[in-house]
Symmetry: D3
Subunit: 243 residues, 6 copies
């Protein structure tokens, strides 16, 4: 029996997803991604050269940072810059985004170049990290295309070896549900973020029992559901990049 969700969708349906490519004029690649009311600005900054400790190895570097505007959330959060430190959750998500994108990048093909991904949440309604990964892939692809046009990377280099997208799944009111919004996430018994490639292989699986621990079978069901959602997201990425 289907979960009754606030916006009328059923358990296996994504929220409305849009990716506005090239939103920023300054960045080499950029995308404003929305998963329902969640809105994340993703930029990819291409910098010829690598940090000193990587020089001379013929290999590149991709890293990511995540942040939330103070009033992206329902009640205002203190600014991390003002608090003078990056919080644990921010650190954790930045690292996840970086690993996810690196999983589809060939460093030798990138050559001695650096790409810094920034994902900043303008409005939060659950799923900010999965939206960030999904949008960042588009920004990354555009930055690489830019670098080829500028001659920083050879035209034929296969820098991207696959696509990558991410979605959250969870057990809400006893049933598996796809792409949780903030309210669903707050009440989920189990909460999982899945990152996978265009070919349907897993890059990251992070599942947490918020209430009841879960069985191996439930894990399997959730992963299946997530892979379905990611397949749809990859289609949206392809359409966006083809436009």
């Amino acid at each position: 029996m289907a979960l009754k969700r606030s916006n009328g969708r059923d358990n296996r349906t994504l929220r409305e997803v849009t990716i506005e490519r090239g939103w920023s004029e300054n960045a080499e690649g950029s995308a404003l991604v929305s998963f329902g009311n969640t809105r994340v600005l993703c930029t990819a900054s291409f910098q010829p050269g690598v940090p000193r400790w990587l020089k001379g190895q013929g290999t590149g570097w991709v890293t990511a940072e995540y942040g939330m505007l103070p009033r992206s959330t329902n009640s205002r959060m203190d600014r991390e810059a003002v608090k003078g430190k990056v919080g644990g959750r921010t650190h954790e998500i930045s690292r996840l985004i970086g690993r996810s994108l690196r999983a589809v990048v060939s460093y030798p093909e990138l050559g001695e170049n650096t790409i810094v991904i920034d994902t900043d949440v303008l409005q939060a309604d659950g799923g900010t990290r999965t939206a960030a990964i999904t949008g960042a892939y588009v920004a990354l692809a555009d930055a690489i295309a830019w670098a080829k046009k500028q001659g920083h990377v050879p035209e034929g280099a296969k820098v991207l070896i696959d696509e990558v997208a991410a979605i959250s799944v969870g057990i809400v009111a006893g049933e598996p549900a796809l792409d949780l919004d903030y309210n669903e996430d707050s009440t989920a018994e189990t909460d999982m973020n899945v990152v996978a490639t265009g070919r349907g292989l897993l890059v990251e699986v992070q599942g947490t029992a918020e209430g009841q621990p879960f069985s191996k079978d439930e894990l399997g069901d959730l992963v299946d559901l997530a892979l379905e959602g990611i397949s749809t997201l990859v289609d949206i990425q392809r359409t966006t990049l083809a436009s």
Copy 2:
């Protein structure tokens, strides 16, 4: 003789200015303001109550913070949260925005309530602080309207005693020019930010000789030019708030 500006406008003309009211679903008031390619997201967070040291005085509190996304600029800046401290320029601008808005707020009419303004630069092309003040006024007005609807502030309270907007002026290539973009700002001999009210009175004047020091007459010309621009900005604010 008019300065030839990159976008065809003359010395006394603003860039295209737009204010998208209610851009954020979470904040009590919000506006996405653009001065040409400069884009700033302004939110106003209304919180019943005041900090402890203000309690029992029947008076409110308005404060502001400013930030830039790392890739809002031409080349990526390090994130202040990562550096672990707020830079001098950020501090300076946050304080300017706060003072500017407080100049048109009646604390007794606001009552024991707090409004926190956040202005985050999504894309920077000069004039971010003046765009921030101009947009923040709209967000502030909407947050106050919200508070009246919710009964936190009496319907008839005259919380806003005037309007406020801001613009930059400068001496570029020897001539006074209005609303400098990044390139013009970088080459200006004198750079000035002016904040004024809807009635045309000055709230802040901050002029700096970047190259040649300037005379008292030049100061007067720049202020006149700024007041013209601010008058136009106030019209745009009025139109936006009337819509």
Copy 3:
């Protein structure tokens, strides 16, 4: 065909695991846990009362922190206290340990009391976070027993609703392997940490493709292997606590 591992064990075997209960004289509960050469000192500090924001709700609080001594590792790391900030990895692991232990604690049964878990790595050879969780459970159980003897918690309270332990698994040289040491972990294609209860239910699953992405089937195999290992760890916990 079995992976040839440096210490002669096969793919499905844990390293030697020991738990020295009551290692610290000062803490209410403590354990020095070893997984092979990995050695983690776990203490549980029981404090009557809860933070102010929890008062009057009849519910307790369990939190955890993780740290590494600077020379626990092969080459010396800078001290986080000296750097003035907690790193992303440390944050991430502290949060994981806290969530894992909270999954088996009944807050209402704990009452308005706080338990702070500290897990400090004295020597690191892979699997520090899983050793930390496994040892911390023993320290936690002892701190609760202490609190019952002191009368802070009723003798019959069922504060612990299950046991909890954790292990790492990974795909090394193409095959699933249990309880990776540092060398194996560095070369693993996929690296997963699994936290589960004494009843064999999952609390956390965190899998990362370090090299090749992995299939849903591989995920299933790894989880099966981890659950076997955790079952052995829970036996060791039981023996330790019975002694």
Copy 4:
């Protein structure tokens, strides 16, 4: 009608100003400046060479820092070193002092040398930033003279292209007043700091409406008054440096 001021002076008169040149034995240039009870120790540290990012450009570097002793004020302030961060006001004033001095320095004439200005408030009674600029100019001049004697800078180099001094003005009790002390500053409706050169040209104008916004005419009156005061200050600087 003249404002009745606590110390008997009229609206257009400075407080007693003294500049004790060479107060510090260690610095290349130094001055202890007093504006009434405000006392600021200014030192100029000459360092041959420039920061790495400036090397090879034949150009120098002048920068400034400002601080207050914790009990320079009426009630003790926390030490910024103890708080672990520089506050917004401190940042703002440091930047102002640096810009003001750079306005009269020719970098090519200075050559590849660095001068760091420190201005530390020993006792505060309003006008600390303007006293700091006025005293720092003397310290700067002496450091340059020292560098010429030592041969770091050619004897004939015209490093200083003008003099620079600063004063505060404000509208107090409805009338323009020069060089506000702490009590006057606290009650001023408009508060302005003006920095100008020995030739009477403006380097910085920073006016803020603390109470009522001000008209363009009031701005003009205040600037006139400030320029008068600065002219007197420059005379005192000249006398000091001639002694």
Copy 5:
């Protein structure tokens, strides 16, 4: 045979010591103390009341902080506020000064009041911590006198149970020497700071072998020499406070 010292004094003679009482108009007690070219501004801030954790115990609180202006030294040091942390040496000296003064204060006689001592080095030439303690005692005595006049402390309260002063001694060129200046300190084989009371009893002895370790007899000689010097300093304190 006497050590030939740069300024002609012999081994057992202090540098010229002056204490300018009441140097600061804002602090309840203050003194500008000089030991030769070392100059330290000491202020004592009296605050009725104690920190929350001391309330209701009828007892007071005395604490101290130490700082150096960036160009108090021969070559400029970075500002601790800018570095964002207090260094180890600063911490160590602040704690020493606080302990030294507390040794002569009766908390019950002080009542529930707080005195914060600030000692800021304006010019450094060795012995800054001993000058700071010696001057701070005068500032402290004046702050207590002020508090009695204001009625915060009963007129007859014996808050100060003794006097306290401090001096450095060391083995320089093989011989014990009193009150080392910076050059002597840099070459001393053993360096010792001694704090003692007006009655000649020891409060702190901190001796360090910079080069050769020292014997128990040498320790005894150094302490004797220090007690002589402190006796002279206490005379100067008495004369200052009697004026």
Copy 6:
């Protein structure tokens, strides 16, 4: 008349002292030292090369850091890494340990190599700094032996010019006592830490009057008692290193 001490020992007797050499597998030298219930893990990290500012001078570098695990103490302390700064006491002790070890190291014999000592308190019951110095000497000696075997230091180099150990002494209940535990330390009138060499010469003497100031004679008695204790500690070090 002898002080009655909690553990039956008399005033002139050390607690049980053990030094477990080679406790850590990763460090070049290590020792787990116990003074009664005080337990400190000491590691010495040998790194070929010196910091840049020392290069080319043919001289080495030895430094030390001290830390306490949060629950090494009776009630849990906050972690310094979490607070984001190293406290004054920690700084002070780190510096003392570093100076003490450097006093017996010949830098020219060490050559251009760095040794970093880490001393981390696993359990605290008074005397942690003296245990740390005593244990660190053993770790240091082993790291130097390792460096000779590896060829980083010539076999015949006399890097260690003496032994070094440390002990606390104090006046407890009116009588001198050796090696204070936490309870004794808390009630001591005078508290002194003494560091001396194998030959019985003093390296550091740090005495503090916690209650009554002390006379020069009392100082002498305490130093005598400490030198006796240190002589015993050096014997234990020799036995440990000979094993």
